[in-house]
């Protein structure tokens, strides 16, 4: 492949953005809201994701009442129930909303449907909040409904994993393609990866892969030492994470 072709490909990859995510991730998010709606006996269920600059929430996935018109809705992350959830990383449960028409209208703007009750939980990784998962008018007479906050959080955790996997894939793919466009004979690909705020981990991984490949030329003792050092680093990291928990 010529350099020009690679450069074109990298530019395309950058523009394509989320299209580089595995196609299963969108389907998985759809499945999560459909399953949650059914399990909770709810009128509607949706997922809103924070934009890159975290100023807005975009509802990307929805099912149930009002869903068709609601997908694509953007709201400020600095107000309302969804805003509170992404700002604090805490779930929120509100009921008796229809008693106050103004409130119901505000919520409708954020949910595509006028509910009497809303349960919203953060979609989050250990590092940051990615968005919000909302269930509207769930059946609270169900057996074990007192555990709903925790149960919906488990669904949100699945959504976070799907989004995170798509995100890593997209950024790693773009970083590597971009680097491939600028690599030349005798230059390691890890050395031409351009660090960005979002591909930091991708760059690190590529560098680790590059260093490991150099170990091919080292002797068995050096390789054994490298394995020991890596194991020590991982043991330390795991122990530190446990202590923090």
């Amino acid at each position: 492949m010529t350099e020009t072709t690679l450069a074109d490909l990298a530019a395309l990859a950058t523009m394509a953005g989320p299209a580089f995510a595995p196609p299963e991730s969108a389907r998985l998010l759809d499945a999560i809201v459909v399953t949650a709606k059914e399990l909770f006996g709810a009128a509607a269920c949706s997922i809103g994701l924070l934009t890159e600059d975290e100023s807005e929430i975009v509802f990307t996935t929805a099912t149930g009442a009002g869903a068709d018109d609601f997908v694509g809705t953007r709201i400020s992350s600095g107000t309302g129930i969804a805003g509170w959830v992404v700002s604090t990383g805490q779930p929120m449960d509100l009921s008796g909303l229809r008693a106050d028409q103004r409130f119901a209208r505000d919520v409708a703007e954020q949910s595509g449907y006028v509910p009497d009750e809303i349960l919203a939980v953060p979609v989050a990784t250990d590092e940051r909040v990615l968005g919000v998962l909302e269930v509207l008018d769930r059946d609270v007479a169900r057996v074990d409904s007192e555990r709903d906050m925790r149960l919906l959080t488990l669904f949100a955790n699945q959504a976070a994993l799907a989004i995170q996997a798509a995100d890593v894939f997209a950024h790693l793919g773009r970083s590597l393609l971009d680097a491939a466009a600028r690599v030349s004979p005798g230059v390691q690909i890890a050395n031409v990866i351009v660090p960005t705020p979002r591909n930091g981990s991708a760059g690190d991984l590529a560098e680790i892969a590059s260093l490991l490949s150099e170990l091919r030329d080292a002797g068995p003792r050096e390789r054994a030492l490298a394995v020991k050092v890596l194991r020590d680093v991982l043991d330390y990291t795991r122990g530190r994470d446990r202590r923090r928990r």
Binding site: T79, I81, W84, S87, T88, L94, D100, F103, M149, R244
Partner: protein, 268 residues
């Protein structure tokens, strides 16, 4: 519905605790005739709607926001502000109900942007300690381990300055700061509705249970709604602490924990 930790306060599971202080330390001794007068209570949250009938005014307001050019990357603006979410107003309404004559101070850390919110939260807590607030209600927390040491330092600073930090624990399982520290009053929701009722948990780290499940609370624009969360349990306890302090201003945080343990619903 039950937030995390609230199951520990289920009536069938909660063990009685020995009261440890003489019978003379009763609720009548602790807060009989008290109103919260003279006690400064800071609420670190989304702002407070002081015009809400259940809040009845705020005595001061400071909004904190992330500013890369400011000292410590946080800027503070003193003056009236709105509650952009309603949550801070809910907490203020609960405290006002329990301790009607306390002074409320709104320290707004939420509602503008998400960047640097841990730094902003820490700056507001430092402000509360430096301004000698008697009680600080924090119905929010951070789970980021990067802030573990900062909040630990602030929790110790508050303890040594007799500032009582009341913290809601997470609504879902997971570590949160500063609610996990031993010097703070960590609170989860129990199912009962009596605003003066509270439990002591003999199995920490969550030490206190107070109303927070399907409670009616004030919200923004003069509204009231029904909500569930450990968020609403914390201001119940903060109000009670303000009440006790207004009658017994000499109490330290550790004294206060001993008094609360003696007069809790499950104290025997």
């Amino acid at each position: 519905m039950r937030p995390a930790w609230s199951e520990q306060f289920d009536a069938t599971l909660l063990a009685p605790v020995p009261r440890a202080l003489p019978d003379a330390v009763s609720r009548e001794w602790a807060w009989g005739g008290a109103t919260g007068a003279g006690i400064d209570v800071a609420i670190i949250d989304s702002g407070i709607d002081g015009a809400h009938p259940l809040v009845g005014g705020v005595d001061s307001a400071v909004a904190f926001h992330f500013d890369p050019d400011a000292d410590d990357q946080v800027a503070a603006e003193t003056g009236p502000h709105d509650d952009l979410f309603g949550h801070g107003t809910a907490c203020a309404g609960i405290i006002r109900r329990v301790a009607p004559q306390c002074r409320l101070h709104s320290l707004r850390v939420l509602g503008e942007r998400l960047t640097g919110k841990g730094l902003v939260f820490a700056a507001a807590l430092r402000w509360a300690i430096e301004h000698r607030m008697h009680v600080v209600n924090m119905s929010l927390s951070t789970g980021k381990s990067d802030y573990y040491a900062i909040f630990h330092e602030l929790a110790d600073l508050a303890y040594f300055n007799r500032v009582m930090l009341v913290c809601a624990v997470n609504n879902v399982p997971g570590p949160t700061y500063p609610s996990e520290y031993a010097t703070v009053f960590s609170v989860a929701a129990h199912e009962r509705k009596d605003p003066y009722g509270f439990d002591v948990n003999p199995v920490p780290p969550v030490e206190f249970g107070a109303p927070g499940i399907e409670v009616e609370v004030a919200w923004s624009n003069g509204r009231t709604i029904t909500s569930t969360g450990n968020s609403f349990a914390a201001p119940h306890l903060a109000g009670l602490i303000a009440l006790v302090l207004s009658k017994h201003p000499e109490l330290t945080p550790s004294d206060m924990k001993a008094v609360l343990r003696a007069i809790a619903d499950n104290s025997r």
